[in-house]
Structures are given as structure tokens and as C-alpha cells.
């Protein structure tokens, strides 16, 4: 390769190295600065442009909701352990396993209903358009995964489901 070619390739390599270095440094610094918030609700404040008054009201709702959520979590975990114990017990426990599955599903449904009720309450504190966006986002994050899973299991696409 002639001299100008070597210089050009070297300059390009140096450019790529400088870009990669500055990209990585800036990314790490931004993540270190703004990630892992101490406050559970910091995402709500920034994402939905909440006022201090709205956030204070939501904080009350959040504080009231968390013990209920924790109680459901404990019940679900306990029921899951019972189901695991039945399933580990052998192959002749279909009826008991079914009963545990039903109980687990009922607990999850109650927990989901409670969660949705909380989301609705929070959305009502927000300005209307932000509240709608919050509800849609929460539905996508908490129930969307199950819907996708069920659609994939039934072999239907999301578009067909709507017709």
C-alpha cells in the first residue's frame, strides 16, 4: 500500500478508536449518573412530567399499595411452593396439582386485579393524557407479556386477534 493509503487507513482507525472511546465513556458516565434511582417513583416523575403535588399524592397511593402487593407476593410464593411440592411428589397427584394450579391462578388473578386497580388510581392523579399513557404503558409492561405468550401458544398473530 502506498503512503497516502496507509495514512488514510491509520486516520480512519484512529477515528473509530476515538469515537468508540468517547461513546463508551459518555454512556458509562450517563448510566452511572442517572441509573439505579433511590426513589421508586423517579421514573414516573420524569416520564409523565408530574408536578410535586401529583407526585406526593401518588407517593401516598404507592405507600398504601405496597403492603398489599407484598402480601400477595408472599401468598403466591407460598402457593407456588405447595405446587412444586405436589409436583415433586410423583405422577399420581394430578388432581391435587390441578387444585394447587387453580388456587395459584386465582391468587394471581386477585393480585393482577389489585395491581390494575392501583394503576387506575395512579392514572387518575395524573393529567388525563399522561394518565392514559401511563395505563397503556403499565398494561403493556405487566399484561402484555402474557398476551404475547398466549397468542404465540395459540398460533394467532396480534392482528388476527382484533378481527
Amino acid at each position: 500500500m502506498n503512503r497516502p493509503g496507509i495514512i488514510l487507513v491509520g486516520a480512519l482507525a484512529l477515528g473509530v478508536a476515538i469515537f468508540a472511546g468517547s461513546y463508551y465513556t459518555a454512556r458509562q458516565a450517563t448510566v452511572a449518573c442517572c441509573s439505579r434511582p433511590a426513589d421508586d417513583l423517579s421514573w414516573l416523575r420524569t416520564e409523565f412530567h408530574l408536578s410535586d403535588a401529583d407526585l406526593a399524592r401518588i407517593r401516598e397511593l404507592h405507600a398504601g399499595y405496597q403492603p398489599k402487593c407484598a402480601a400477595f407476593c408472599a401468598k403466591i410464593a407460598a402457593k407456588q411452593s405447595e405446587l412444586d411440592a405436589v409436583l415433586d411428589g410423583g405422577t399420581n397427584s394430578t388432581a391435587e396439582a390441578r387444585l394447587k394450579l387453580d388456587e395459584l391462578a386465582a391468587l394471581r388473578a386477585q393480585c393482577q386485579a389489585n395491581m390494575l386497580q392501583h394503576f387506575v388510581a395512579v392514572s387518575q392523579v395524573m393529567p388525563p393524557d399522561q394518565g392514559r399513557r401511563y395505563l397503556a404503558e403499565m398494561k403493556r409492561l405487566t399484561l402484555g407479556h402474557h398476551e404475547q405468550f398466549e397468542h404465540s401458544m395459540s398460533g394467532e398473530t396480534g392482528h388476527e386477534q382484533h378481527h
Binding site: I18, S22, T30, V31
Partner: protein
């Protein structure tokens, strides 16, 4: 000397001299070749000269510094945007973990 000048002014001698001068035969397609050489001379820079021009630009200290600054800025900007996205996602997951049990997600 004067006699010589008179001889060169003589039209008969001039005509004889013109006839005596041999004109060599031109090679085939001579005019086309001439035009091709003219067009090549007027053509834009070749790839080698283009490379030389770029390298010459890169070797100018002011331009090299400006290029380095631009690349630094672009890298920093892209990294900041990506980092903000990652931080936003992290904060979202933090909130979600506080309101939705992992078993339901």
C-alpha cells in the same frame, strides 16, 4: 547578403522549396488520437490524486484537530443518548419491580 535576400524573395524559389519539403505520412486515426489526449489532459483528478488531496487535508493540523473534535463530540453525544435510554429503562424496571410482582410479569 543582399543577393541572398533577393533570392529568398523570389517566388519561384519559394515554390520550389515548398515542393521539396517532405511532409511525413500521419499515423492512422491521428486526429482522433490527438483529441483523446486533449480530453485525458482535461479530465478530473484520478483516484490517486484524490487520495493525495484527502491525505493532505488530514495532515493539516487545524483540520485534523477539527476532525478529532467532531468525532469526539459525535461519540460523546451517541453515548449520552444511549446511556439515557439505558438509565430510563433501568428506572422503569425499578418502578415496575416496586408495583408488579415478578411472578406476574
Amino acid at each position: 547578403m543582399k543577393e541572398n535576400n533577393q533570392a529568398s524573395d523570389d517566388p519561384r524559389i519559394s515554390a520550389l522549396l515548398r515542393q521539396a519539403r517532405l511532409a511525413p505520412d500521419l499515423p492512422p486515426r491521428f486526429p482522433q488520437q490527438v483529441w483523446r489526449r486533449i480530453e485525458n489532459a482535461a479530465a478530473p483528478a484520478t483516484s490517486a490524486s484524490w487520495l493525495d488531496a484527502v491525505v493532505n487535508l488530514l495532515l493539516r493540523p487545524k483540520l485534523a484537530l477539527a476532525a478529532v473534535a467532531l468525532v469526539l463530540l459525535m461519540g460523546g453525544l451517541a453515548g449520552t443518548l444511549e446511556g439515557r435510554q439505558a438509565a430510563r429503562h433501568d428506572a422503569q424496571m425499578h418502578y415496575l419491580a416496586s408495583v408488579a410482582p415478578a411472578a406476574l410479569r
